[in-house]
């Protein structure tokens, strides 16, 4: 109650400050009048009475001041008047304010943008029900530590049946598929899931119902987005039939639009709780699970460990050293992105550090400019705190300005970040600015301001009034400590920038290595069509093969097309297979370690189309049909791996792709990089489409063109539709596929380079500011030296040498820091070592040049000092 009253009084006084002061003044005056008239009543003259009152009660102004200073609102109003003063000071020193605000904006903006990404990806809970109980099952080999976020069918089934800590386990498989609707076909992510999927995620359809186990390969769920795009509304989608892999599927339910697990799935087709694959070595399924309420991941892992042990004992060959892991879903999803995000965070941290150093330096210069003002205030009796307060307030105000500008910068930066984000960056579409980011940014701004104002404020507090008045920096009698401090700031700045420049150099070199790596095939002028020809029965497959042959022939006739071929397992493409194989007639086999290779299925003319060199033997031809002896073309590495110096042509190979037939080696082709330019070229087996039809209905058609590939898109589409309108298609170019395969590396390299550029800019500003200030301070000294005959070259050299020395020290410190931080990026580098001399050298040179260039302008200004006017200045 009393607190409330005090609050009300205080606020009233704050709002009507003059009212209160008038009130107090009137009361004081009245008091003194009463006192004087009281004295006069007792017989004094007016003069005596006044003197007596003054003696007893002091002066009216003292009484007024004392009465006015009562109450909490006075502290507030002092604060506001100090703030107004600080704002006026900032407005007056426009250049200072602008530079400092921009510097802070860059530092804070970069941090806000990266924190936004980190918050949305790593910190925010997954947008599913009970996200902390969701898990992903993975298989780990205890000897090698190799972990894959997949399980085999039987292992998954055993976990579902035996693990009591898991409430529900759902197996799934899928990928990009053609979905045939009544009048058109569309390409989207389709996932086959069992009945438990809905239990794991606690899904509630917004229309229709969930499916039951008995509806395997008959029913499907779609999300709202898919329903709206293809049928107009969720209700309209219910009961519709679509064809996926030539099966008629009825849409029985629609899930909310925001749900698209896994990845970008829009269609979930029912499959049985009993997985089709019975192999304990084929990792055909991804598995998600829901932990029972109250069960921790440790408990669940312990139980799964026990079950894994039993499985190892029961299937000593297949389950040898196999361990089933239960990973928190958030970790499984975002784990791979963590190093990149941490690298980015470290980078923007560095930028903030540089920004802080710059602002500190600017503040120091400001503080030195007002040393006299502070000295006078101290001489007039201001306390330490009173002297520090305006300095701190000024930087708080600056921080707020920088914060606002930083957030304005962060908004477009976040948009760019999302646009550039590679596919591997999970949850990219969830990235958005929010309250937490604002809290983070404001906290950061306040901390920044405190850090960068502590030094200047402490110096202000330490100013000794007498010394400051005597000392005159402009006469070259500045204190040694101040210069050392400024130099130290420049060194820190150069060191931090050096680290950024090295990181940027390493990542850029990695990116260029990847871009220029010989892939083993030609990427130019190549149109890629992802074609899904639905087939189910044996007749379907026979018809499908004929259709593809017809399509290849038709496309070859299109003007501008040089070669055409089909392939399952296109390099950089989404499909592919691999596994172990056995060879007869080659090197002796190691029974414990069967050779492995990539398996691809291709049509005749594929190697010619791709520009993969045929080293020995022949390509597939029209005689290599299903009924004739099976044949295979192997890559150079595969030949070396299994046959050494023996001629592989005519030898036999067997692999477990789809048939038990032995295949005769008919040719050897050059190696290619299959999954990404970062990968080493390895062994590959190529088999003809005609002999492996069950793997040949979802293929890539590749066209080597003489014109810009995408200009042929419509013609090609029309030609394919002419043969079969039910083929779902999507188009791209080989160059685009290669580009996409290195988006992660490009993302890192471009971002870190941008940040390094920002750092460099700030460092340049810092060095320039320091040098300009030093020169301005030394004008008198320089004038004096010139008057005594020092020539311009000596003056300029002195200043440049000073800058170069600071830069060299900074580079040395940065080198040590880089050595310490190198292991952060080691895993992200391809073709460069963390201590790459080119990157280190380039960074050193860059910083040295930057420092010298930044010092050149003030240096030249120094040479134009007119000795006469410099000496006369005071």
């Amino acid at each position: 109650m009393a607190l409330l009253r005090s609050l009300v009084h205080g606020i009233r006084n704050l709002l009507r400050r003059t009212d209160r002061e008038r009130d107090v003044a009137e009361e004081v005056e009245q008091y003194f009048q009463e006192a004087v008239s009281y004295q006069m009543e007792r017989g004094m003259t007016a003069e005596e009475a006044r003197r007596n009152t003054r003696m007893e009660a002091g002066t009216m102004s003292k009484a007024r001041e004392q009465a006015n200073s009562y109450g909490w609102e006075n502290a507030v109003s002092t604060f506001f008047s100090d703030l107004r003063f600080a704002a006026r000071q900032l407005a007056k020193h426009r250049a200072f304010t602008l530079t400092a605000t921009l510097t802070l904006a860059i530092g804070i903006g970069a941090n806000a943008a990266i924190f936004t990404a980190i918050d949305s990806i790593l910190l925010a809970p997954l947008p599913y029900n009970h996200p902390d109980r969701l898990a992903v099952l993975a298989t780990r080999y205890s000897n090698s530590g190799f972990t894959i976020q997949r399980v085999t069918g039987p292992d998954g089934l055993d976990m579902r049946e035996q693990a009591k800590s898991l409430q529900a386990v759902s197996l799934m498989t899928g990928g990009e598929e053609g979905v045939q609707l009544r009048d058109h076909a569309t390409y989207t992510e389709v996932t086959w899931v069992d009945e438990n999927f809905a239990h794991v995620f606690n899904l509630q359809p917004i229309a229709g119902r969930l499916f039951a186990d008995a509806e395997s390969h008959r029913s499907a769920l779609v999300n709202e987005q898919f329903a709206r795009n293809n049928f107009g509304s969720a209700q309209a989608a219910l009961g519709q039939t679509v064809h996926i892999e030539n099966e008629a599927i009825e849409i029985v339910g629609v899930l909310p639009g925001g749900f698209h697990y896994p990845r970008k799935t829009e269609v979930w087709e029912a499959f049985s709780l009993l997985p089709e694959s019975k192999s304990r070595t084929a990792f055909n399924y991804r598995a998600v699970a829901l932990l029972r309420n109250g069960v921790s991941f440790q408990t669940a892992q312990a139980e799964l460990g026990g079950i894994s042990q039993r499985l190892q004992a029961a299937y000593p060959k297949d389950n040898r050293r196999k361990q089933i892991m239960v990973l928190p879903m958030a970790e499984a999803l975002t784990g791979p992105a963590r190093p990149t995000l941490m690298l980015l965070w470290a980078t923007v941290g560095m930028i903030l550090l540089i920004a802080c150093v710059n602002v500190t330096h600017l503040q120091l210069v400001r503080a030195m400019e007002r040393q006299r003002e502070i000295a006078i205030r101290k001489a007039l009796g201001s306390s330490r705190w009173q002297v520090m307060r305006p300095v701190i307030l000024e930087s708080l105000l600056l921080a707020m300005l920088g914060c606002a500008a930083g957030i304005l910068l962060a908004i477009p930066a976040v948009h760019m970040l999302v646009a550039m984000a590679p596919d591997e960056l999970p949850r990219a579409h969830e990235i958005h600015l929010n309250g937490w980011v604002l809290v983070f940014t404001v906290t950061l701004a306040v901390l920044t301001s405190l850090v960068s104002s502590i030094l200047p404020a402490m110096r202000a507090a330490k100013v000794n009034a007498a010394d400051a008045m005597k000392q005159d920096a402009s006469r070259g009698m500045g204190r040694k400590g101040a210069a050392t401090l400024r130099d130290g700031l420049v060194v820190a700045e150069v060191a931090a920038t050096f680290v950024l420049a090295v990181a940027a150099g390493l990542l850029l070199r990695t990116m260029f290595t990847l871009m220029t790596n010989d892939l083993g095939f030609q990427t130019r002028q190549m149109l890629v069509v992802d074609a899904d020809n639905p087939a189910h029965s044996e007749d379907d497959y026979r018809r499908m093969l004929q259709q593809f042959d017809e399509i290849f022939a038709n496309l070859k006739a299109v003007p501008g097309v040089e070669h055409v071929a089909g392939v399952m397992g296109l390099p950089m493409g989404p499909y592919g297979s691999n596994g172990n194989y056995t060879a007869r007639g080659g090197l002796p086999m190691n029974p414990d370690h069967a050779p492995s290779a990539i398996f691809s299925i291709a049509s005749p003319g594929y190697f010619q189309t791709m520009g993969i060199p045929m080293l020995r033997g022949r390509d597939f031809n029209a005689q290599d049909t299903y009924d004739n002896p099976f044949v295979v073309v192997i890559s150079e590495s595969a030949a070396r791996q299994s046959f050494g110096n023996i001629d592989p042509i005519g030898k036999q190979i067997h692999c477990g792709l789809d048939s038990d037939n032995w295949m005769m080696v008919i040719g050897v082709v050059g190696d290619i990089r299959q999954d990404s330019p970062a990968e080493k070229p390895g062994p590959a087996l190529y088999m003809p489409m005609a002999q492996h039809p069950y793997h040949a209905n979802q293929i890539h058609i590749v066209l080597r063109t003489q014109v810009k590939p995408l200009t042929l898109m419509n013609t090609v589409q029309a030609k394919i539709m002419q043969t079969n309108s039910q083929i779902a298609m999507s188009f791209t170019t080989m160059d685009a596929l290669v580009n996409e395969s290195i988006t992660t590396e490009r993302f890192r390299a471009v971002l870190i380079s941008a940040f390094a550029g920002a750092g460099l800019l700030l460092a340049m500003l810092g060095v320039y500011g320091t040098m300009a200030y030093t020169v301005a301070q030394r004008t008198f000294e320089i004038g004096l030296r010139m008057a005594f005959g020092a020539n311009r070259a000596i003056i300029l050299r002195g200043i440049l040498r000073h800058a170069a020395r600071l830069a060299c020290i900074g580079i040395a410190v940065g080198l040590v820091l880089s050595l310490a931080l190198a292991r952060l990026v080691t895993a992200m580098l391809v073709g460069v070592r963390p201590m790459d001399p080119v990157s280190l050298g380039a960074a050193s040179l860059l910083l040295l040049l930057t420092a010298i260039v930044a010092a050149a302008a003030p240096g030249l200004k120094a040479t134009r000092v007119n000795p006469l006017s410099a000496l006369r200045a005071e």
Binding site: E26, Y31, F32, E34, E56, G58
Partner: protein, 111 residues
């Protein structure tokens, strides 16, 4: 005379003001004059401290204030005790009596 301490005993100014005002509403100088008279000049009140104390007591809700005419027809701010102020005075008086007698006992025992 200049050596003699005329400060009000630390912490008792509020109680003395409340006591003074318990007789009748008064303005600032009236309070000073009354306290000097009653204490026979032992306590002299400085106007700055008095006005600060009055603001404090008013904010605590123990006093009300009002601008009125004085007997020599000048405008002055008159302070009056509120009900809460009366209660506070009783409490502080009792507290003071308890402590003063304790101090007196201690001093006597020393002597």
């Amino acid at each position: 005379m200049a050596d003699e301490n005329t400060d009000v005993i630390q912490g008792t100014l509020d109680m003395l003001i409340l006591k003074t005002l318990s007789l009748e509403p008064m303005h600032g100088f009236g309070i000073t004059r009354r306290m000097e008279q009653v204490s026979r000049g032992v306590f002299k009140i400085n106007p700055g401290s008095l006005l600060t104390a009055l603001q404090r007591l008013e904010r605590a809700g123990w006093l009300d204030s009002e601008w009125k005419q004085t007997e020599n027809s000048r405008r002055a701010k008159f302070y009056a005790l509120t009900r809460a102020g009366k209660k506070q005075l009783e409490q502080e008086t009792a507290d003071w009596a308890r402590r003063a007698s304790a101090v007196a006992r201690l001093l006597k025992a020393e002597a």
